[in-house]
Symmetry: D2
Subunit: 104 residues, 4 copies
């Protein structure tokens, strides 16, 4: 199974600017060695179930050190007999449409 | 931290009727001993991080035995110094409004 | 199409206790006449697309009057040739398992 | 309010390969004139509430023409006094960390 996991994680008790907390999570993600892509609404990880959920857990442990209420949104797309889907899914849509689309 | 986790999990390769697969997950949840509430769009679990994510993982392992593509949606609300939130959150809204609301 | 829509909506700039804002949304939902069920992580509405999204929009308009940053999570399950799914989906799982489950 | 909306929409009754249906949605999005970014798990739109939800509705109308069961996941981040957040949010995280991150 290739597990694609997108997640976002925010404190509710730190006011409307939560960029510092998001940056701490991205530092953890970037150092984890897990393949990922950041987008404006979350980060997509690819790996097996325990690997990608392990990264989310690390981000949660760090955030729970100094945040009282934490909201997490996670979406998983797991598929057998496929890999490198971080790039393949977007490329497949562009190929079907025969033109490049806006990515981020 | 009290971790409330709501999730839904469905196969994409079994046609539009996926009730048998949902029932298998609920059997796992109900036997897990973790406190939960089923609603029309998912199941809400309460416990610590590893406990509630452990239940989701068991449902995933079962489903991946005979499903080729699996979609999972998870939402977490973690909060310090609170407990019994499966009942307390709904009760708190009703108390604020001074009337009962429709639950399921 | 029967459209089941579950949503939750919270301000990010009001601290960790957002119950007053949730209660305002439930007041709007309860008065809308749309069939709904409240659970510990959100509210499930049933109706056609424009009806259920119209209720979400009203809650958003009210919240945006005095909140600077708003987070909304929405999940839709739309299905042809079905109705009364707020009750039918949960009942169907219980029937398959042959026992009552915990609801809220 | 700048409304960032990420969504994904899939039929449940068409088997595990749903790329053709996703491509039809991206065709609608790309032609809508609304600013967007595609990622491996969804598409992020930016605009006001009615504009971005109008695009989601168009995708739903197209998909409901030949699909019997449709699943939609939507996440909204609305914020006052900000704009161009499709690029600004990612750039802000990179600036805080002082290094480029993997995007898609």
């Amino acid at each position: 199974m290739s597990v694609l996991l997108e997640f976002s994680m925010s404190p509710l008790d730190k006011g409307e600017s939560v960029g510092d907390y998001v940056a701490r999570s991205l530092e953890i993600i970037d150092k984890s060695g897990v393949n990922y892509r950041l987008n404006p609404m979350g980060t997509v990880l690819e790996g097996d179930w325990d690997t990608v959920f392990g990264v989310v857990r690390k981000c949660y442990e760090r955030m729970s050190q100094d945040c009282s209420r934490i909201s997490v949104s996670i979406k998983v797309d797991a598929r057998k007999n496929q890999e490198n889907r971080l790039e393949a899914k977007v490329a497949s849509v562009e190929k079907r449409l025969g033109k490049p689309l806006r990515k981020s």
